[in-house]
């Protein structure tokens, strides 16, 4: 393969700088003792301290994490079961219909998901707050899990199931000891994606969150609308740290399971 020319390297470097500069700009000024994002006066951790002392903010952080974990877990269960169900359908037409319906929420703009869920929750009388946000997050995470699990199920050799049944396994055994271990990487990926989608979501949550309940994204939005506050910068420092940790954790986990499955015959 031909090597990169100097101009290509400069171009790539520029793109990387532009992509990362705003993030590091935020983090840099989170240590500023002055109150703005312009003049760096001196190093301080007071803004981080402010985050941890603000009990309202801590509650919102906990809410965000709880919603993310719960919605990722529930949607992983529904999505995995759904994918197993779709694959076992014999009717190809039915299968394709389900797959198209599955993709509707993936391609729909967030505003439409948010607005239509707002109508839905109001119609069936679900109070806007924790429950509505959780339901909405589960709803938009399910199709992603299905898409992550489906390829694994399709590449699985069906003779594995036949062999297990011939050897006297019950259908529960087949599920727990053959299918689930095989598609485990897909389930992992689905859970992880669902988690990041939930943590990142702003638009849908913005529509279905009531007055009393808030997640981090919605809270940052209202803080940003009010103007610059270095507390937000401190939050970005923390978010960046957590993101990097999650990425590293995910890679360690997937490479470990990959090694394990590759070790198998």
């Amino acid at each position: 393969m031909n090597k990169l020319s100097t101009s290509a390297k400069i171009y790539l470097t520029l793109v990387f700088i532009v992509l990362y500069a705003p993030i590091f700009y935020l983090i840099f000024y989170s240590f500023n003792s002055g109150g703005s994002m312009n003049n760096f006066e001196s190093f301080t951790l007071e803004h981080y301290q402010a985050v941890f002392e603000d009990s309202r903010l801590i509650v919102i952080l906990i809410n965000t994490v709880i919603v993310a974990l719960l919605s990722a877990f529930i949607s992983t269960v529904i999505g995995t079961l759904g994918a197993i169900g779709i694959v076992s359908l014999k009717d190809a037409k039915m299968r394709n219909t389900l797959l198209s319906l599955n993709n509707v929420l993936i391609v729909s703009p967030d505003v439409i998901i948010g607005a239509s869920f707002l109508i839905l929750f109001t119609m069936i009388g679900i109070k806007l707050g924790f429950v509505s946000v959780l339901l909405a997050h589960v709803a938009f995470s399910v199709p992603i899990v299905v898409l992550m699990v489906l390829p694994k199920l399709l590449e699985m050799n069906s003779s594995l199931i036949d062999a297990a049944l011939d050897l006297g396994a019950t259908k529960k055994d087949v599920m727990m000891r053959v299918i689930l271990p095989y598609i485990q990487p897909g389930i992992f990926a689905g859970f992880f994606l669902a988690l990041t989608y939930s943590l990142d979501d702003f638009a849908v949550t913005f529509f279905v969150t009531g007055n009393g309940f808030s997640t981090l994204s919605v809270e940052i939005y209202s803080m940003a609308r009010a103007g610059i506050s270095l507390t937000v910068n401190a939050i970005s420092g923390l978010v960046f740290l957590v993101t990097i940790l999650v990425v590293i954790g995910y890679y360690v986990m997937t490479s470990r399971t990959r090694k394990r499955t590759e070790g198998r015959p």
Binding site: N38, G85, S88, V107, P109, A115
Partner: protein, 269 residues
């Protein structure tokens, strides 16, 4: 026996489809036929075809077009060069990581960067010009949107370039094509699928942005998304909001038919 387990495992999934895919769309269509007092009417559709809303739709399309164009312009070469780096998967990951940082935080950063006393204006002053208000302009809105969408555009293009068989390029060179001809006649057509799904992943969300318009463009730019948010959460006219949503869904379907894709792709919020 196997089939029976599968059927019951499908049950929660089917419930999900009924409640969160079919019901919401049906409700949006239903509400688009109601006026603010809940009476049946076509007036929302009439209103949509008035000059105010048509103008807004056009300008929303224009912004989405500009955003998609600049995103593609920057992303294609980036993806192309990325496939030529040594540890391309690692570099790709580094490009993707910024897209995982909360969107609100990235947008918030630009409030500071473009601010009257921000680093860009400081630079402008150094080279001898007067500082300018850059927030709340069209240019800043487009810049921030492009910034947000770049990783989402790079990913599908990178994948299609990565799948490209390098011997095809060698063959084209051996047959005497210049590198520009090779690019135009071989590389570009073969990566069209990646470009199309990239456009799809950027254009539809760009039509429906509302957070960036509010924070960066003030009230200067009104996209379809902003209008929906306004109708639903500020004016509380759900009927009109639903009507705009119906048209946004229609536009989405048309765009997807044009860019003809079975491929999935990321989502931007």
């Amino acid at each position: 026996m196997q089939a029976k387990t599968a059927k019951s495992s499908l049950f929660p999934y089917l419930l999900w489809i009924a409640f969160f895919v079919i019901a919401p769309i049906a409700l949006v269509v239903y509400y688009s036929l109601l006026d603010i007092h809940g009476h049946f009417t076509f007036s929302n559709y009439q209103a949509f075809f008035s000059s105010v809303y048509l103008k807004m739709t056009l300008s929303s399309f224009w912004y989405a077009l500009l955003i998609t164009f600049f995103t593609l312009l920057i992303s294609y070469p980036t993806a192309y060069f990325l496939t030529k780096t040594k540890n391309k998967q690692l570099w790709l990951l580094l490009i993707i990581i910024p897209s995982w940082i909360n969107l609100l935080l990235k947008t918030y950063a630009f409030i500071g960067i473009f601010g009257l006393y921000g680093p860009i204006n400081a630079f402008i002053e150094i080279i001898g010009f007067d500082p300018q208000q850059m927030l709340f302009t069209d240019a800043s809105f487009i810049f921030v949107s492009v910034y947000i969408f770049i990783p989402f555009m790079i990913l599908p293009i990178f994948n299609s370039l990565d799948r490209l068989n390098p011997t095809l390029i060698d063959a084209s060179r051996d047959l005497g094509a210049s590198s520009f001809t090779t690019f135009r006649r071989v590389v570009l057509p073969l990566t069209m699928d990646g470009i199309k799904s990239g456009i799809q992943v950027v254009f539809i969300p760009a039509l429906s942005l509302f957070m960036i318009t509010r924070l960066i463009a003030g009230n200067r730019v009104i996209t379809l998304g902003t209008a929906i948010e306004q109708q639903f959460l500020v004016t509380q006219n759900w009927g009109m909001g639903s009507t705009i949503a119906v048209f946004l869904i229609l536009f989405m379907v048309i765009i997807m038919l044009i860019t003809g894709q079975k491929d999935k792709g990321g989502r931007v919020r």
